[in-house]
C-alpha cells in the first residue's frame, strides 16, 4: 500500500482547480496537505481550488512573501509557504509547531523541502509541468492517508 500514488493530468489551471476541489471533499479539520513542484507549477492554483471547495469566499493568494496566510471557510485553512526560509531553525522560530491546528486544514507549499518536519499523516501533492499548460498531479497518502486516499471521487482517479 505504501508508496501508492494516484496521478492525473490537467490540461489547464482550471482543471487543476477542479482536481483540487475533488480532493477537498476528503479534507477534514486537522489535515495536512504538503505540496511540491517547481516555481509556476501551480501549487497555489491547487490550493485555490481546494479552498474554494472548502467554502473560502476570497481568492487565495500565494503566501510566498508573508509565509503564512489564513482563510475562513466552512473549514478554515492555513496556507504556508516555506520558500523564503533557509534553515529548519527559522521555521521553528516562526512558530511552525503552532501552525498545526486541529480546527484547520493546513496546506504547506514546498513541503518536500521540509519533509522531516512534516507529520506522519499527510496527503502529498506533487505537480510537474509536462507542457506549456499541461500539469501532471500525483497524489500520495502517508500514514492514515494511505487508506483515506482510496476515498477519492472517481473523476480524480484517472
Amino acid at each position: 500500500m505504501a508508496g501508492d500514488e494516484i496521478t492525473t493530468v490537467c490540461a489547464t489551471p482550471e482543471a487543476t482547480r477542479a482536481v483540487a476541489a475533488a480532493v477537498a471533499t476528503l479534507l477534514r479539520p486537522g489535515d495536512v496537505v504538503a505540496l511540491s513542484g517547481d516555481l509556476g507549477a501551480g501549487k497555489t492554483c491547487f490550493v485555490q481550488g481546494a479552498a474554494e471547495a472548502l467554502g473560502v469566499r476570497v481568492r487565495v493568494q500565494s503566501p510566498s512573501f508573508v509565509i503564512v496566510r489564513e482563510y475562513h471557510g466552512d473549514i478554515p485553512i492555513r496556507h504556508v509557504d516555506v520558500y523564503r526560509l533557509n534553515s529548519i531553525q527559522e521555521l521553528i522560530d516562526l512558530g511552525y509547531d503552532e501552525l498545526f491546528d486541529p480546527a484547520r486544514v493546513l496546506f504547506i507549499e514546498w513541503g518536500d523541502a521540509v519533509e522531516g518536519e512534516l507529520p506522519g499523516d499527510r496527503l502529498e501533492i506533487e505537480i510537474t509541468g509536462t507542457g506549456t499548460e499541461e500539469r501532471r498531479i500525483a497524489l500520495r497518502g502517508r500514514g492514515t492517508w494511505e487508506q483515506r486516499i482510496a476515498g477519492l471521487p472517481s473523476e480524480v482517479a484517472l
Binding site: P13, L39, I88, E98, D112, A113
Partner: protein
Amino acid sequence: MIVLGIDTATSVSSVALAGREGVIGSRVLAQGRGHVEFLMPAIVDLARETGVALEHLAGVAVDVGPGLFTGMRVGIATAKTIAQNLTVPLVGIPSLDLLAFGVRYSHKLICPVIDAKRAEVFTAFYRAVPGGVERESDYTSMTPQDLAAEILARREHVLLVGDGAPAYRDAFAPLDDVEIATRQYPSAEVLVELAIPKLEREEFSSPERLEPLYVRRSDAEIKWDRRGVVIERPNRIQIPKRSREAG
C-alpha cells in the same frame, strides 16, 4: 511602586499587578489560544477593578519564554509597547525561572519542563537557595527520554514542574525519585514577585533590546535543491526577461 506582569508564554496566560506588599490582583486565561484577544482587555479590566492607574506603573515585567511562539511574541510586544509609552523599565524573566521559583521551598533538585511540542521539552536544573532558586544548567531543549536519562544519572530526588511533566508522563514514570508538582504553568503573579526586586536593583532591559528566549533546536538547513527551477506559466502577462532575472 506598582508593577504589571504579563505571562503569555504557555497555554495558560495571565496578567498581574503587584506592589512591594504583594500581589494586588490578577487575571488568568486557561485556554491554549486567544492570547491576543485576552491580553489588553484583561490588563484594562484588572487596572479598573484594582483602582490602579496604569500611567502610574513603576515597571513592566514579561515572561520571555521559552514557550509557545505566538503567545511569547504577543506578550513581549505588549510589554514593550506599554513600557515604552509610559517610559518605565522593562524586565524579562524566562519561563523556566518562573516555574522553578514557584516551587522554591522544595529541597529536591528542581526541574521545570515545558512542553515544546515536536516530542521535546524546554528544561534546566535549579536548586533552592535562600530567597529563591539558582539555575545550575543551561536553558535547553531535549526529548523527555533524554531528560529522564539525565535525571537518572544525577541520582537525586527531582521535582518536575510544568506542563511537560504530565504531557510526557510515560517517559518519567519509570523513575523512582521523581515527583511531579501540581503546578503546571508559569504565572504572572510569580513573575511580578520576581520582577520587583530586579527593578529595585535596576536589573532591567531596554525595550529595544528585549528578545524572546529562543532555545536553539535545529542546525539543519532546508533541502533547497529545486528552489530556482521555474516552470513557464501559461496565460500570464509575459514578464520582460531582464526584470525577471533581476528578481
